[in-house]
């Protein structure tokens, strides 16, 4: 099955991003496809390489980049939500790209299921 993923909350503040990561990893391990993950609302804060979590904690941003590289996932950050929150091309971690909300609607149409992780 093909899943689209929507993440609406920022890292560390809220569990949504962790849950989305674990769901995506489990889906891929079971042979499903996750062609695109869309970051919206405070979820755009998952995309900045400027974050430096404490050493004994998980690195959420790096985790997304690695997952995307290993499995060829398209990590899309909403441009309107990103600009509001100071997320621009120059701060993006590897694997992320900024684009429009149309990319979210598109994966909603294309995928068998769209799964939202939010508050």
């Amino acid at each position: 099955m093909q899943f689209g993923i929507l993440i609406n909350e920022g890292p560390y503040q809220h569990q949504a991003s962790d849950s989305a990561y674990l769901f995506t990893k489990a889906a891929l391990e079971q042979g499903h496809e996750v062609p695109r993950i869309f970051f919206y609302m405070d979820g755009v804060n998952n995309a900045t390489r400027l974050q430096e979590p404490q050493q004994d904690d998980r690195n959420i941003v790096r985790r997304w980049s690695q997952l995307a590289e290993t499995h060829g996932i398209d990590l899309v950050v909403c441009v309107a939500a990103a600009l509001r929150r100071g997320i621009k091309d120059e701060v993006l971690a590897p694997g992320f790209r900024i684009s429009g909300l149309g990319q979210l609607v598109e994966i909603g149409i294309q995928a068998d299921r769209l799964v939202t992780f939010g508050d």
């Binding site: 609406n8 609302m41 149309g102 979210l104 609607v105 909603g108 769209l114």
Partner: protein, 130 residues
């Protein structure tokens, strides 16, 4: 953006429901939900909106966001018709719990009870909840 998309997926129409559960100005959920709704209209999908819990306040008449120095986006709900988005469902129980009726809302809506709302959600291909 949509041109390229339509070439790839022309003809496929899915049922999209946007579920609004939060009050309009305490958080950004209502405003950014509305932004997705407006974009979805460009994709010629079968779009509906649901309002429940504190989300019913998003449609409340007489809002004055200016005193909060917030963007006043309530009039946008009245413009949805111009985007061919005409299916607005409001949960009866949520209205009643807040002492409201359909007369308190800025747009004409279909008031449905909780069981009917569940059926409507079950009928969708894509449900996004904000």
């Amino acid at each position: 953006m949509s041109d390229e998309f339509e070439d790839d997926f022309s003809g496929e129409i899915k049922r999209f429901m946007f579920v609004n559960r939060k009050a309009p100005h305490g958080t950004i959920y209502a405003l950014e939900s509305l932004e997705v709704v407006l974009i979805s209209a460009a994709f010629d999908q079968d779009v509906s909106l649901a309002f429940l819990d504190d989300g019913v306040f998003q449609l409340r008449k007489g809002q004055n966001a200016n005193v909060l120095e917030m963007k006043n986006f309530a009039p946008t709900y009245r413009a949805l018709e111009g985007y061919d988005i005409e299916k607005l469902y409001v949960e009866r129980e949520s209205l009643e719990a807040r002492g409201m009726t359909a007369d308190d809302l800025v747009v004409p809506v279909e008031v449905v009870d909780r069981a009917r709302m569940a059926e409507l959600m079950a009928d969708q291909d894509v449900v996004m909840s904000f």
